[in-house]
């Protein structure tokens, strides 16, 4: 781990730097042959994340040539795996670079392990899909890409491995790129979730393009796998989404205090915010955000906090507190995509327990709409789902729950099914549609399909809400606005130097935040006479020469794209 601390850096500086690091979770999937364990072992080894005694314990073992370390042995943990040379379960790995901490969910790739792949993907911000360059696109890679898309993992990195075996030829890589892009497009059409994809040619065994750029493939000018992982935006989207807070526990240490403990599932909350309690539909204002370390002015996803409201309401575990301006749907009938995980097949009209956020509700599957064949993406008629099967079903709940569609909210749109008799976790579910019921509360009224949601806007407009700040010569600001407009961006231009904003500091933030929450691109402009263009969004910023307007405009598109604001590069106008 020595390389983490550069010689010039004191511990104090190291700790200060560490405090700035964020966390990216990514999943990998692959089979015994495509070198996935080797790839992970290599990532850990090359980032100095393994200790000498761990390397010593595997030296001279394994199946690689004499003198070469079999990196797969660093990661294959269970006895059965070492004996059979396969990876059976999900394993979690940890490493860190000076820029970021990483958690890898390492899963097997065979069909019988589809459920493990879904488990790994459920918490991932990104997926690394492996393709063996000597074999081309196989079913395993398709399956992993399908699961990543179904579970809404936004970023997919395709590592085309074993480039050393095919003489590092560019043609093979480009053919795989073309082939797999068309697979991904078909998958996106089926799951309704486009993924952002990047391809990297690598050799995990030799180490080409894993951590360091390889000299063996000069035709590839992009970043290494690790550099890509370091540059991906992490789950920022949940902070700009509508506020959702499932109540985990009511804290009542004495008669003077009554707080609702939970984790912010999405969005942000501040004292004074109006919230609605679902499913009851009653409203209140947030009075305090309480933590052990003192009250907060703001809490954002995924912080764990305790909320105190300004009035007494009957609230208990399982209730969902939501922003009164952007409510969730209350439903008793839902449609969902299921990944079946149990050896006992899905039975219609068997009693299951549906666990959603912090509540558990008895549920019955009333109909199986179809089963998806991952190989062909065909929708097949089915009267049951077997282990590792994927399909779309209708579910009736015994009590209404407050929810969002999974494509809009990975937290309030997800559930698991538990067999009430065996207690096994039998399925992972992603809500694809919900039939709203009118809630008991007086303020709340939902029509048959609820209000237009952020996700629906995003799907139509091709981007989510965001704030883009640009300063530079006014002609260039106009060009940027025009260029975004012609790419179909729904934007609102705001002059930051407007008198109103100067008189009321804080108003600009309120205005832009509300635009962002409505899915608009708030374009905050500041004209000046300088020769530079400065553009900033979500913690990333660029400075460009204003005398090269074509390049500057295109860099702004690129900036928005790399911040994950567009749903695809096409919609980004790139």
């Amino acid at each position: 781990m020595a390389a983490l601390l550069a010689p010039s850096l004191s511990v104090g500086e190291f700790l200060a730097e560490e405090r700035e690091k964020d966390l990216l979770r990514f999943s990998t999937a692959g089979s015994v042959d495509d070198g996935k364990s080797t790839l992970i072992g290599r990532l850990l080894y090359d980032t100095q994340s393994v200790y000498e005694d761990q390397v010593r314990s595997i030296e001279g073992k394994g199946t690689t040539a004499p003198g070469q370390i079999d990196f797969a042995l660093l990661t294959d943990g269970l006895r059965a795996e070492r004996e059979q040379g396969i990876t059976i379960d999900v394993a979690y790995r940890y490493f860190s670079t000076p820029r970021r901490k990483f958690i890898i969910a390492d899963t097997p790739g065979h069909e019988q392990y589809t459920r493990n792949m879904a488990t790994g993907a459920s918490t991932a911000d990104a997926a690394v899909v492996l393709i063996d360059a000597s074999k081309g696109v196989l079913i395993q890679s398709r399956r992993h890409a399908y699961i990543a898309s179904l579970l809404r993992v936004r970023h997919v990195i395709v590592a085309v491995n074993k480039m050393d075996l095919i003489g590092y030829g560019e043609a093979v890589f480009r053919a795989i790129e073309l082939d797999f892009t068309s697979v991904l497009n078909q998958i996106a059409a089926d799951t309704g979730t486009p993924v952002e994809v990047r391809f990297v040619p690598v050799s995990a065994l030799v180490g080409d393009n894993i951590v360091h750029r390889s000299n063996a493939m000069r035709w590839y000018t992009g970043p290494s796998l690790l550099a890509l992982l370091e540059s991906l935006p992490s789950a920022l989207e949940t902070r700009t989404a509508p506020f959702r807070f499932p109540v985990q526990r009511v804290l009542r240490p004495d008669h003077t205090f009554r707080g609702f403990a939970g984790q912010v599932a999405s969005g942000t909350v501040r004292p004074g915010d109006k919230i609605t309690v679902l499913p009851s539909g009653r409203s209140a204002e947030v009075a305090r955000i309480v933590t052990f370390d003192g009250d907060l002015d703001e809490a954002l996803a995924p912080q764990s906090v305790t909320l105190v409201l300004d009035r007494e309401l009957d609230i208990s575990r399982g209730d969902l507190l939501v922003s009164s301006r952007a409510q969730a749907v209350v439903a008793k009938r839902i449609q969902a995509a299921l990944v079946w995980m149990d050896s006992r097949p899905l039975q219609r009209n068997r009693r299951y327990l549906l666990k959603h956020t912090s509540q558990t509700v008895p549920a019955f599957v009333s109909a199986i709409k179809h089963r998806t064949n991952i190989g062909t993406l065909a929708h097949e008629a089915a009267d049951m789902l077997e282990m590792n099967g994927i399909g779309v079903v209708s579910i009736d709940l015994l009590r209404p729950i407050a929810l969002d569609l999974y494509r809009e909210n990975r937290s309030t749109g997800a559930f698991i099914l538990i067999d009430a008799e065996t207690n096994s976790t039998v399925a992972a579910g992603m809500i694809t549609a919900a039939k709203a019921v009118a809630a008991a509360g007086d303020h709340f009224h939902a029509d048959a399909w609820g209000p237009v949601t952020a996700g629906e806007r995003e799907a139509r407009w091709g981007h989510r809400g965001a704030i883009l700040e640009v300063s530079g010569p006014v002609e260039l600001l106009d060009s940027i606005e025009r260029s975004l407009f012609s790419a179909g961006v729904v934007s609102v231009r705001i002059e930051a130097d407007d008198e109103t904003f100067l008189l009321h500091p804080g108003l600009l933030e309120i205005v832009t935040r509300s635009q962002l929450q409505s899915g608009l691109l708030a374009l905050v402009v500041k004209a000046n006479e300088g020769g530079a263009l400065l553009a900033r969004t979500e913690g990333q910023e660029i400075t460009l020469d204003a005398n090269d307007p074509i390049r500057a405009v295109s860099a702004v598109h690129q900036l928005l794209h790399s911040a994950g604001i567009f749903i695809s590069s096409e919609r980004a106008g790139l």
Binding site: M1, D22, T291
Partner: protein, 322 residues
Amino acid sequence: MPVAESVSPPSTPASAFAPQRLSHLRLLEAESIHILREVASEFERPVMLYSIGKDSSVMLRLAQKAFYPAPIPFPLLHVDTGFKFAEMLTFRDEMARLVGAELLVWRNEAAIAAGTNPIVLDTKRCCGLLKTQALLDALRHYNFDAAFGGARRDEEKSRAKERIYSFRDSAGQWDPKNQRPELWNLYNARIHPGESIRVFPLSNWTEMDVWQYIHEENIPVVDLYFAKERPMYVRPMSTGQDALLPVEQAFVARKGEQPQMIKSRLRSLGCSPCTGAIRSDADTIPAIIAELLSFRSSERANRAIDHDQEGSMELKKREGYF
């Protein structure tokens, strides 16, 4: 589409209304608190295994945070093998008093009275009696249905596959091939009578995360982690490095071995006969972190129990060990 070369992290502080970022420690903290609250709300009788080490210290602080301003709604349980360092026991009682938690201590008195120790038996059988058996007896005696442990997935290869909610059958055993899938942050807390769940709220923390958190949060830890002149038996090893064995139990010494004063500290706390010390000058937490960065060996390298057999931790866990 590769990221444009011109995109760089902000060189100036982000503007006032750019979305904030939570650091990795805040993200890990939020996840752990969520887990602690879920367990406290979904089980009848949860307990927190408190082993006095740095991981337990972090877990205890997270429990305080999870339920603040209410008290921690479950007791702490320490499985005392009789071979813990005296300093650890003093620290344990003091911490329980400070946080206002109920502390339960369980010992396998019969085995201790029979003179069980890792030299007379081997480490595997000694752990089996004094740790695993004692733990299972305590859980059964108090009828606990969920037990928090401070284990982390980065500690050992078989732990990398452990769930956050780890299901145990009525004999307390772990079946690694038949674990419940664990998706999103939705944990399955359903069990039949007699079965139980071991819960690991620190699953996703690394050793470095734990020390950084202790540093940032000013969490008290046992003095044995800090370097000091301490009496040690120095025993040459086949690797060329010396093993430092704390002078705590007389039976540890081999014939002719005399204690020497060595500036040393413990990197992980276990039973004194099975926990080697390391030579170190690190007497503050930043110094420990600096030392950690220069380490070439994993933290359990000095723990005899992990190495007595290929896959030994997995075997112990199958039998009910934490």
